[in-house]
């Protein structure tokens, strides 16, 4: 199912949470809504699910206007940041919920639940209560529950936000693989650019309720449409009135060509790469990213004076 958001605006009192946002999500895609906290990304997701009603604009699901449709009738799966596990029900009954209230036959429900338990790798946990599961297990249960009634869209609100780093990385991989397997149109919200770039095939960047850019992860990195996107997606530093990525900073031993004089503050070797932290005459800091052999070749030392020039830079009119 495709999702089309047309000129959607949502206010909470005086604050504008979503400000005239339009975007399209293609059938079968895996899209990330990326933005800092307060950018309106969760609100937008909740509007798609029908958990919030927009003050203006339309939500089109599979070509049909769903703006005033209640969440019950949208056939979306929604995964909440804090799982929203039904605490008084076992894992099995949590997953079965959507099917039970649709009054599906008992054996069909049983089969489907077993299938989902296997999919989310919770086979041995069917008769436990949510309180007896770890955070990651609870999140997988929530996913299975959302998928049970075969929704046309899967919506996830900061699905890994409450988990620790290692579990988060595992679940990321797992979500990618799941999407390849199930192939349901999926939209997830995150404030973590790395997560968005790694998992999604399309990323929509939101800032202060407005859509800054939508595109593939590579597009956003290479062709950022605004200063905000450039700074938010990947590292970016000011250099002579322009913005530059660390690996686009060229180091030289000689001045000239408008190169800026800098001192090396610190060199950090990270495996095959190295990060050279620099400070210019005004005290402004930037970093260059090089291969380790380049650092060795240039024979860089902390405290040394160098000249830098951007190889690729961007100027955004504000």
């Amino acid at each position: 199912m495709s999702i089309e958001i047309r000129h959607v605006t949502k206010r909470f009192g005086e604050a504008v949470a979503v400000d005239d946002v339009s975007l399209e999500v293609e059938t079968g895609s895996l899209t990330a809504l990326l933005g800092p906290s307060g950018s309106g990304k969760s609100t937008l997701l909740r509007i798609v699910a029908g958990l919030e009603t927009p003050d203006a604009g339309e939500v089109i699901l599979s070509g049909e206007d769903a703006t005033t449709l209640s969440p019950q009738k949208r056939n979306v799966g929604f995964v909440f940041q804090h799982y929203a596990a039904f605490k008084h029900m076992t894992v099995r009954n949590n997953i079965a919920f959507g099917l039970t209230i649709r009054k599906r036959p008992k054996n069909e429900i049983r089969e489907r639940v077993e299938e989902l338990l296997a999919l989310v790798q919770l086979q041995g946990f069917a008769d436990r209560y949510p309180a007896q599961l770890s955070g990651g297990q609870r999140q997988r249960m929530a996913l299975a529950r959302a998928l049970a009634a075969e929704p046309k869209v899967l919506l996830l609100d900061e699905p890994f936000g409450a988990l620790d780093a290692r579990v988060r990385a595992e679940l990321r991989d797992w979500l990618r693989r799941l999407h390849e397997e199930v192939h349901v149109t999926t939209v997830f919200v995150t404030h973590d650019q790395e997560e968005a770039m790694e998992v999604a095939d399309r990323v929509a960047v939101l800032n202060r309720g407005r859509l800054e850019q939508i595109g593939s992860p590579l597009d956003l990195y290479d062709e950022p449409a605004s200063e905000f996107v450039m700074r938010f997606v990947g590292d970016a530093h000011d250099l002579g009135g322009a913005l530059v990525r660390p690996h686009d900073v060229a180091l030289r031993r000689e001045p000239g060509d408008g190169a800026v004089e800098v001192a090396i503050e610190r060199i950090t070797v990270l495996g095959a790469d190295a990060r050279v932290e620099l400070v210019d005459g005004d005290g402004a800091r930037l970093a260059a990213r090089l291969r380790r052999d380049e650092v060795e070749e240039l024979d860089l030392e902390e405290g040394e004076i160098l000249w830098v020039r951007p190889e690729r830079e961007r100027v955004f009119s504000s």
Partner: protein, 259 residues
């Protein structure tokens, strides 16, 4: 030292007097107690109390749950006023409650004159006792359910709605099971108050022996007529009920706090 002060206070005010009631009741053996309790007027008083409680408790439970859902889950103007009015009966004297109903349903009252004109007797009859009991015990369920609902949050309910559950299905399968201990605790408190209401009922019932006299009024009546055994026996039954209520409160409380 603080332990001694606290225990001495509890003993002097609570425990010692209660022990005395037991002793006084059975001072002359079981026979007079049984005699007093099987007195037809006393039996009638107990029956009336039970009937009134059986009406007041479900009414206040439904009201309490509904009003809690509205206050916690919905946005509407005047919510603060509604919230304040629910708690009001807790701060009111039972005498104020009784007299208010007495005036509303009395011969010259706004409702009373019309109702009497149509042959409906409310005051000095069971409907007034029911109304007074409902009035006095309105807040108990809502006061327990509101904080539990707040703490529960609405995420589970939203999850249910995205899974296709209707409003009623969400309430039945998600909300109600999550607040059930708070509801039960509120029901226990409502029951205790309904069984034990005295002041409001004393005013509106007319205290007609064998007709509109409830158990608490019967205690008063027996005592005033120097039937100490009667007064103590009925009190003992009511106190025993209170102990059951207390046990239920103790058993239910931790569960409610854990939820």
């Amino acid at each position: 030292m603080p332990r001694f002060v606290a225990l001495a206070y509890l003993t002097a005010v609570l425990l010692a007097p209660l022990t005395m009631v037991f002793w006084r009741t059975f001072q002359h053996g079981l026979a007079p107690v049984w005699g007093a309790l099987s007195n037809p007027e006393t039996v009638h008083a107990f029956k009336l109390t039970l009937i009134v409680t059986a009406i007041a408790v479900p009414v206040n439970t439904i009201f309490g749950v509904a009003v809690s859902l509205l206050i916690v889950r919905k946005r509407f103007p005047g919510k603060g006023v509604l919230n304040a009015f629910i708690d009001l009966p807790l701060a009111l004297s039972p005498v104020v409650v009784g007299l208010s109903l007495y005036l509303l349903y009395g011969r010259n009252g706004w409702f009373g004159s019309w109702l009497l004109g149509h042959g409906i007797q409310v005051l000095f009859a069971w409907p007034a006792i029911v109304l007074a009991t409902i009035f006095a015990s309105v807040p108990f369920v809502a006061r327990e359910v509101i904080p539990t609902l707040r703490e529960l949050g609405d995420e589970q309910e939203q999850a249910a709605s995205t899974l296709g559950a209707s409003g009623w299905q969400t309430f039945r399968r998600i909300t109600l099971p999550s607040i059930r201990w708070a509801v039960i605790y509120g029901v226990v408190l409502t029951t205790a108050r309904s069984l034990g209401e005295y002041g409001a009922v004393a005013i509106v019932s007319g205290r007609i022996v064998g007709r509109t006299e409830t158990a608490t009024l019967r205690v008063d009546d027996s005592y005033q007529n120097f039937d100490l055994t009667g007064a103590y026996s009925i009190s003992l039954v009511l106190a025993a009920t209170a102990v059951v209520v207390l046990i239920l409160m103790t058993v239910l409380k931790p569960k409610e706090q854990m939820a």
